[in-house]
């Protein structure tokens, strides 16, 4: 993925860096990533798309709307490839998406919405959904293998409370695990129903936070598991992700409810682990949220490090 510094992006658009920052504040676009030193890094695809739209636009709003539509064009391609069970074409669609975006944005803006669209069209008990989930699982696992592992002293234990791989919440959980790992954390996922030998695992893996992801497992199972973890590792902060509850205004009873968006959840989770207040998450489009029409279902995965 080609990236541009603020001055380069401004030059490409023939505007000043102040103008770019003004657009980011007002429209949430273009949405830069940040370097280690908190400098903005723009994706070339986003800037090129906006440059083309500005040539024929009558307002910044309409140009940004058009640029966003152009970038979203990858979603129908991926949906079409997965619906036709064409693995190569699906991989190529994600490759194309990655040419214009970071891994996090490609997952949130292309992969997850495509899968949710297939769930809407075909249902969660259908073969296309099962095929799409299998492909997405493979893709996300490949991305995790390529991600640097544990470059920061941050360890997160994910309690998997989803039903199985067909559970739509499982997709978002895998995305959260990938994002956390790419942010430098070491992530271990264990099913919340597996209590046997839990202490032995935790003797070698010292988590600094627990995330309980998914809403299939009952509260009793989750409470027993969390108690066993805290008995072995001490009092750790607990966060809930896609646990079926609505997001409260703030923390309640010491448990943090993470936002539904995997990237926003990852930001808050990292802040929780590092013990700092969560920084405001950059404006994102509502399309990354799953539509309310998809009933929450679940998954259970075997332990994976």
């Amino acid at each position: 993925m080609r990236t541009l510094k603020t001055s380069e992006a401004a030059s490409e658009l023939n505007v000043s860096p102040n103008t770019l920052r003004a657009w980011e504040r007002r429209f949430g676009y273009p949405r830069p990533m940040r370097t280690e030193g908190r400098h903005r890094l723009y994706t070339h695809g986003e800037i090129a798309s906006l440059r083309d739209a500005l040539k024929e636009g009558l307002s910044i709003s309409s140009a940004i709307s058009r640029a966003r539509e152009n970038l979203r064009a990858d979603t129908p391609v991926l949906v079409g490839a997965l619906s036709a069970c064409e693995l190569d074409r699906a991989d190529a669609a994600m490759e194309a998406a990655l040419a214009l975006r970071s891994v996090e944005r490609a997952v949130e803006e292309i992969l997850l919405p495509s899968l949710h669209e297939i769930a809407d069209r075909s249902g969660e008990a259908s073969a296309p959904w099962a095929f799409a989930v299998q492909w997405a699982s493979d893709w996300l696992n490949r991305a995790r293998r390529l991600a640097p592992s544990g470059v920061r002293p941050l360890t997160v234990l994910v309690g998997d409370a989803t039903r199985d791989e067909q559970d739509p919440d499982a997709l978002d959980t895998w995305a959260l695990e990938l994002f956390a790992q790419r942010a430098g954390a070491e992530v271990l996922t264990l099913p919340v129903t597996g209590l046997v030998g839990l202490g032995d695992v935790l003797a070698n893996f010292h988590p600094r936070a627990i995330v309980i992801a998914g809403s299939h497992a009952g509260d009793d199972d989750v409470a027993r598991w969390a108690y066993a973890v805290r008995a072995a590792s001490g009092p750790l902060p607990v966060a809930l992700y896609r646990r079926g509850s609505r997001r409260p205004a703030g923390r309640t009873t010491g448990t943090l409810v993470l936002p539904h968006s995997p990237s926003a959840a990852q930001h808050e989770l990292m802040a929780l682990v590092e013990g700092r207040p969560a920084a405001p998450v950059p404006a994102s489009e509502p399309s990354v949220e799953r539509s309310a029409s998809i009933a929450p279902v679940q998954l259970r995965r075997s332990a994976s490090a």
Binding site: N14, S16, W23, S59
Partner: protein, 163 residues
């Protein structure tokens, strides 16, 4: 035998083309006469530079909208956002009639309003006056100037709340 010849009739081909002026499509600020290096307003950073005939271009405090030939809203000025209680991002690409409707007691339906805009989008160069009201509101009327603007070719609707 005399051959028929084309003749220029009085009044045709003699109309002066009114010079266009540049202004920002968001804050309305008039731009320098020289072609700007960038299409983005250097004053507010939030609007593109648009051109319109001098008599049509908005004054410093006049709210305005820009629509295309399909009657889709393309831009809403900052003052129009305040006057109409809308955000530009919310109404861009929506139909103009979702925002403004004709309010002329003499007019029959929206046809006159629509045809005025369609003619302006074709670039007939004539600035027309119409009376409009906000969609879904009664008892409020604004005089408007409607005419062509560029680039690309579109229609500028300047609202004059004070008549």
């Amino acid at each position: 035998m005399t051959r028929p010849q084309l003749q220029v009739l009085p009044g045709y081909g003699e109309t002066d083309v009114e010079p266009y002026v540049d202004f920002c499509g968001h804050c309305g600020k008039r731009q320098e006469a020289a072609a700007p290096a960038s299409r983005v307003c250097g004053n507010c950073h939030l609007g593109l530079i648009v051109s319109a005939p001098g008599s049509l271009a908005p004054g410093a405090k006049e709210p305005f909208l820009i629509v295309d030939g399909r009657l889709q809203v393309c831009a809403v000025s900052r003052r129009a956002e305040r006057l109409l209680g809308i955000a530009e991002a919310d109404v861009v690409d929506r139909q103009l009639t979702d925002v403004l409707l004709p309010a002329d007691a003499e007019a029959v339906g929206v046809e006159g309003f629509v045809s005025t805009i369609v003619h302006a989008a074709r670039g007939d160069g004539i600035v027309r006056d119409l009376v409009v009201r906000p969609a879904g509101e009664w008892g409020i009327r604004w005089f408007t100037r409607i005419g062509p603007c560029a680039t690309p070719s579109a229609v500028l609707i300047v609202l004059a709340p004070n008549g």
